[in-house]
Amino acid sequence: MKRIGLIVVLLCGGLLVYGTIDFPGWGDPEAPASRHVSPYYIENSIRDTSVPNIVTAVLADYRGYDTMFETAVIFSAGIACFFLLRVFSRKSPDVRLYRHVPTSLTIRIEKGGKLPEESPDFERIDDEWTPYDLIIKTTCRLVIPFIQLFALYVIAHGHHSPGGGFQGGVILGASIILYAVSHDLRATIRRMSERVSALLATTGIIIYAGTGLLCLVLGANFLDYGALAAVLGVDPVSARSHGILIVEIGVGLAVMSTMVWIYYILSSVGRNDEGL
């Protein structure tokens, strides 16, 4: 197996090397890739969409359809993980462990025993529970708001600087994942339940596809943001710019909640209990 694999890989590499000889040199401004379609984007994006970041303009407008499906890809990954791994336990387990937070005592409750009341003093834990570090907990709690603020900035400022819905959404999702890593998964799920994350992911794509559909209803082609001018009360070029912003918000929402959702499922193997 090893040898066959090596031969296949080397053959493949040799083929690619052979093809590379005819490539135009690296970074050649006269290369065909830089001369056919891309100059149009560079020279006209400001005029067409009034978005200075050309990548954002191309991503969300000229090739906005790709981006809609990119969001759908992420969403289907979330759904796929849920479908594959999530287990719904009908009956509650025989033995439950609770921790009394002020004293750090663990209470073990057998089947039929009385459960502690829902109070902030008790938290439910699993048998593989390890103490969480105070320093890490506090630091993360301090840092998370700033991460989220930055993420919102990235989403909102995608028109003028690198970034946009996708990056911002991932950072926003990462901040929640950071909370889940530094605290525990149950606490995170209490703040943002699985259902909320699934519905937010759906909402994100509905915002994107709905914007496109609105354009279609208004008489233009699907995703032709210029048609939004009538609704937003601006000229078509700024309507494109605003349309891009709306769409980016949808992407951000969908990506954030899907990332969090996938993390919930992977880190607890579908049980949504203790987490890492």
Binding site: Y62, A209, L213, N221
Partner: protein
């Protein structure tokens, strides 16, 4: 509204997938009706598109309103409109036919199941209509990701098989992406028509040659042509019936369609079929694949695994038909896409019914099935006859075109492979039919026990019989399909 059909066939299933997700959290009973309605609407729009194409050639739809090389366009012509109708029709029929077994298989996860189902259909129909090479990759990944998840939920070794499918599928898709990158490097464009316009100046370039090879390799992996077929039998054999009836007929066929699109309309026949030696090499690979798959099919003792090898052999038919590089061969390949999807749907639905009622699909457990479930077995026989290639079922006609194309091109190896695989199919299917019809249920007792009729539920049987009748109808109308649609789908210049 009719001018927006190309967008609607994608947007309707996407939107209803989202609706189904929401419904899955609140009221599970809504999932099926929403999916049914949306797929019916999609089928309606795709038939509308076919009518538009029949009346005025190519339908072009600019997404975002940007003109072709800069934005993404959907181009619907004779080739893909018919494949589109096929995809949506198969998805709809399978949805209806497997409603009950899906509820039994995934009682907790109906919402996610139908969401994945609709996203899968979205991806496939997008692949079929798109005119942008990169957009095709994104849609390919949607359909693959959902496919991995659906297959991975099967019994026994399905998760492992599905993980292997992930690996092979990702290699295939990455190779396709790389090939598109090579094309972009030399042409600077991603629009298929635009690329096809620029390429003739560059036919001598090594980059174009490598791009072609890489693209084809990626697609061959995705469609499970012979040396790359190993992932398919495991993945399909253990997957649940509601899934296999969707994925088995469609995935390989759509990939064959993509191959046709790339070879005929992006690279143009002047490049793809430039060297007769290369054509012969591909035909030999296909013929070899057919023979190997048939031999492997002979060694299987379980119905569903045996059918997966038949599926691999059929892929060889279509690939070989294309590389015969003449009109009859390519007509046969395109016709076989349609027929094979219908046949595969029919036979896997029948196998699903059998598996559901008798809990096993090993050959020796099929005894007495004809009396137990007469309608399902009747449909099974029709599908088997079609796969073997007996007139008037549709399988005969595509095989006829393929064989006449092969004789015309002088590829007698391919003829031999086709005949050999038909022979193997005859042997195996008649063995199954013999077991089901003649063998006594239990040979230890002298008195055969009373066989009660245990036909599958009504809805499953009716749709199955409808598909079986459809096979014969397709066969009868072959002439119309060929003269009205397929002959215009083949580019001029191929004789």
């Amino acid at each position: 509204m009719s001018q927006h059909f190309p967008a609607l066939i994608i947007v309707i299933p996407l939107f209803s997938a989202l609706m189904v997700t929401v419904a899955g959290w609140f009221n599970k009973r809504l999932c099926f009706p929403i999916s049914l309605l949306s797929l019916a609407a999609v089928l309606y729009s795709s038939i509308g598109l076919l009518m538009q194409v029949l009346s005025r050639q190519v339908v072009q739809y600019r997404l975002g309103g940007w003109p072709p090389p800069f934005g993404i366009v959907y181009e619907v012509d004779y080739l893909n409109s018919v494949v589109l109708v096929l995809v949506t029709a198969v998805a709809l029929i399978n949805l209806i036919a497997t409603r009950i077994s899906v509820v039994e298989d995934f009682p907790d996860k109906l919402g996610p199941f139908y969401t994945l189902y609709l996203l899968f259909v979205t991806g496939l129909s997008g692949i079929v209509v798109t005119g942008d090479a990169f957009n095709l990759y994104v849609l390919l990944e949607i359909s693959s990701l959902t496919g991995y998840a659906l297959i991975g939920m099967g019994k026994e070794h399905a998760p492992l098989a599905s993980l292997h499918y992930v690996f092979m599928g990702t290699i295939g898709a990455s190779f396709y992406l790389l090939g598109i990158g090579y094309l972009y490097l030399v042409t600077g464009s991603l629009n298929m028509v635009d690329i096809a316009g620029i390429l003739p100046k560059l036919y001598g370039s090594k980059v174009v040659l490598i791009a072609f090879i890489i693209c084809m390799t990626g697609l061959f992996i995705k469609m499970a042509l012979f040396p790359f077929h190993s992932w398919l039998p495991n993945a399909y054999a253990d997957s649940p019936p509601g899934v296999v009836g969707l994925i088995a007929p469609l995935t390989t066929k759509v990939m064959v369609y993509v191959m046709l699109r790339i070879t005929l309309y992006v690279f143009k026949p002047e490049f793809s079929f430039a060297s007769a030696d290369i054509n012969t090499a591909f035909v030999w690979i296909a013929a070899f694949g057919i023979v190997v798959a048939s031999v492997l099919a002979l060694s299987e003792r379980r119905l569903k695994r045996f059918l997966t090898y038949v599926l691999i052999a059929e892929v060889g038919y279509m690939v070989g038909g294309l590389w015969l590089a003449n009109r009859a061969g390519i007509t046969g390949a395109i016709l076989h896409i349609i027929n094979d999807a219908a046949m595969t749907l029919c036979i896997f639905l029948a196998a699903g019914n059998i598996l559901r009622q008798s809990r096993s699909d090993a050959f020796e457990d099929l005894k007495g099935l004809f009396r137990k479930m007469p309608f399902s077995m009747a449909a099974f026989v029709v599908a088997a006859l079609s796969i073997i290639g007996v007139p008037p079922t549709c399988g005969f006609f595509s095989k006829w075109y393929l064989i006449s194309g092969a004789i015309e091109a002088g590829q007698y190896v391919f003829v031999a492979a086709l005949l050999f695989s038909s022979l193997v199919n005859v042997v195996l299917f008649f063995r199954i039919i013999e077991i089901g019809f003649f063998e006594p249920l239990d040979d230890h007792h002298h008195q055969a026990p009373e066989i009660t009729r245990r036909e599958a539920p009504m809805g499953m049987v009716i749709s199955l019989v409808a598909v079986a009748v459809g096979l014969i109808v397709l066969g009868i109308f072959t002439r119309d399909i060929v003269t009205k649609i397929i002959q215009f789908a083949i580019p001029e210049g191929i004789t």
